[in-house]
Symmetry: C3
Subunit: 320 residues, 3 copies
């Protein structure tokens, strides 16, 4: 069994795939963010394209629909001058692992250069990376409950642009920690970047068992969890969870865990409010906070393009 580290970095220590934040050290995370920084200025240009991936074919291989994520990767690829193929694979057609491999083999044979993979199954992107031809890079765009590493990276990038250093920060992640691939990736990234105090705030039913083993402090009370923090990362509430017994009503959830102006006052005066979007106003966050001066939610979206461009460029370089 190849370790994730060996799978993700090649023998020269270059990024070959981007599957997870796990195994990437602080230096690597900063290198990705430094690269993203160079694309930030693209926004100001008249012509927003750079020819770094000209003639390359990027396949958005989505086994799970997500217009939003697909759009950001498509834009990132096009701004790098790549050709983009969008392929939605019905889960039914790939029920057997064998058939998934056949799909991959076929696309490989068409001389494509990169797979951006979104899948409801944890480990799907790793599975594909493990079996893919040497010239192809795999980017994980979210796999099951496991990881969503570009989201975590864009969050780190957003923090880095506002805070002088990661070390002294207190960061609270608030919401459904148990089912969130975003939270998992964020925790790994924050720890790798040396953040001293990472808190997770959620109802007890939405906290993983033995969550402390990840190096985080759990809180069930939002007011206490927010005390004196520098950054608040809200998670999106998956409304379908509401139907099970895991969650009370939306109104009840908002009463206990919704981020309001009053609660925000518990945090540091220059606290950042983040959210991966799309936000549920009045469920996990009030409009006043979402649109308020602490919110960097829309900035995150722009950073998402820059981080995805960075990851694509770094991974593609290795393949050459």
């Amino acid at each position: 069994m190849i370790s994730v580290r060996d799978l993700q970095l090649d023998e020269q220590g270059r990024l070959r795939h981007f599957l997870t934040v796990e195994g990437l050290n602080s230096e690597w995370l900063h290198r990705i963010m430094d690269t993203a920084e160079t694309f930030g200025s693209v926004r100001e240009r008249q012509v927003k394209k750079v020819p770094l991936l000209r003639g390359k074919t990027v396949v958005n291989l989505f086994f799970e629909t997500s217009t939003r994520t697909r759009t950001t990767f498509e834009l990132a690829a096009k701004r790098l001058s790549a050709d983009v193929l969008n392929i939605n694979v019905a889960v039914s057609a790939t029920a057997k692992g064998e058939t998934l491999l056949d799909t991959i083999r076929n696309l490989e044979a068409m001389s494509v250069d990169m797979f951006v993979v979104r899948h409801a199954g944890s480990g799907a992107a790793h599975f594909i990376a493990r079996h893919v031809a040497p010239h192809i890079s795999v980017i994980n765009a979210g796999d099951g409950r496991h990881a969503h590493p570009t989201q975590a990276l864009l969050d780190m990038f957003t923090i880095r642009r506002h805070k002088p250093e990661f070390g002294p920060l207190k960061v609270a992640i608030v919401g459904d920690i148990l089912h969130s691939r975003v939270a998992r990736s964020q925790i790994h990234a924050l720890k790798a970047l040396g953040v001293t105090e990472v808190r997770v705030v959620a109802p007890r039913t939405l906290l993983p068992v033995a969550v402390e083993s990840l190096g985080v402090k759990p809180f069930c009370d939002l007011d206490r969890g927010l005390e004196d923090v520098d950054v608040i990362i809200m998670l999106r509430l998956q409304k379908e969870r509401m139907e099970g017994a895991l969650l009370p009503s939306e109104r009840e959830y908002y009463r206990c865990y919704g981020l309001t102006s009053k609660r925000l006052a518990k945090a540091k005066p220059d606290v950042l409010v983040m959210h991966p979007g799309p936000i549920n106003r009045g469920v996990e966050i009030s409009s006043a906070v979402a649109d308020g001066r602490h919110s960097v939610i829309l900035e995150q979206v722009g950073h998402g393009i820059a981080i995805r461009m960075a990851v694509m460029v770094l991974a593609m370089r290795s393949g050459q």
Copy 2:
């Protein structure tokens, strides 16, 4: 409340958005048509692309499905060398105005440059234009019963290429005037261009109340409505109207309002027959007329690309 004129033209009097024909004077309409004229020759070239919007991102934001309209805008954008993102937004996801704004804010944050908006609700494109970031232009590709200004412009462009001047023309618009955003936009354009006599011909149930206030002459009898006209603009019959009480059967409609060769003889000998397409043969128009020597229906399609290119280029220039 910002007036439409102020919304559509910027302080330097340049086109910032293209939302409606209302408020654009004859000079403006001719300027758009003059610009379209320069793209007409693109058809004859080996390489049909011009680099005017290279590096720009155009988002086709369709809240209402329309392959045909989406296709013409996509082609127009690609011939201007822009990147195109097609996004179909399920109406359900944007039931609340708030959520529509969040969708817009998110796309803005991805540094896109233009929204081409199609929406079932009247005023949707205006709403978006009113709230959009300063660097973004909005093109209305049809909103509810309100307007479909690029369709009206391409119709004017088609008339201009065949008739020496607008002033002395008699133009008849035939069909479901009441529900037609196309008819509304056409009437505004024809009046702005100085056409003396604009007629609307429809069963009484499909004429708006007090339609005369728009400066048009209503007719319920087709033969009389066509007498001596220079241009006939047929509207597409929305077959779903047939199911209500508003309309008789297709056969009955054709008998009373279908454009046949016999009826065409009432008009001027050099009359133009126009239709926005797709045509319902044997419902609103006979095949003999649709394919006959007076028909410029297919020409209109080509002009549609040129007009959309023109509007995109003019609106994008303002943003720079």
Copy 3:
């Protein structure tokens, strides 16, 4: 009635449309394969694009869904630097031939340059080619039970890259010959290229009546059909046939007509195993054979891109 030959080749003997293998002689088939050969090397390049169709618009006009085929044509067109429009036409919208023509006329009027047509009805691509404007080329991407000529050509190309000459070969096509447009096209191509012995192997219910008239040898017994052959072309089993009375169960089919290692031993030692994909493992072919050293199934996919690029370039040249 224009003959297929006259429809497909123009007065200067150049390829104007690519509708069927029928009527193309050995010289023509080799010319297409020679052109494809020049694109084979594209795979090795850093930038995989060539500017041969820059500024041209290719419309994938699919009346029948096929992600796989659509993807290969889209990739081929993009690697030639063309713009691609994907249009899925609901069959209902074109129930009447008249309406299909109106769809075509409209797209023509948008100054597109090529239609890649997929249709459930036999002869659809021919019908369109017969009525299309002079500057437009039509490529048949599969029509009903009639033809799938690019698939046949890529199969010939794959054989040519492995076998020194076509003449002495023995080739067996195995599977549902009766319903297969692929088989029809392959038979025509193999005969045109001078292959002495073309066998078709299938249950009696899946062989066309009087199949010998095509110049092939029918076999109902797979072991005998494979004896001493140089090439085996497996067809994909359309599982929906299973529901009628035409076919036994999958298990029973595999027992009688599945290609296993044991059966493969009947063929020549350097036999090629081909399949148009996607394969049904354990239905028409065993995994050991599909992934084994005789299999060129994935090579075929890559050749599919090269052949489609070749056909597009040759047909577009005529239009100039």
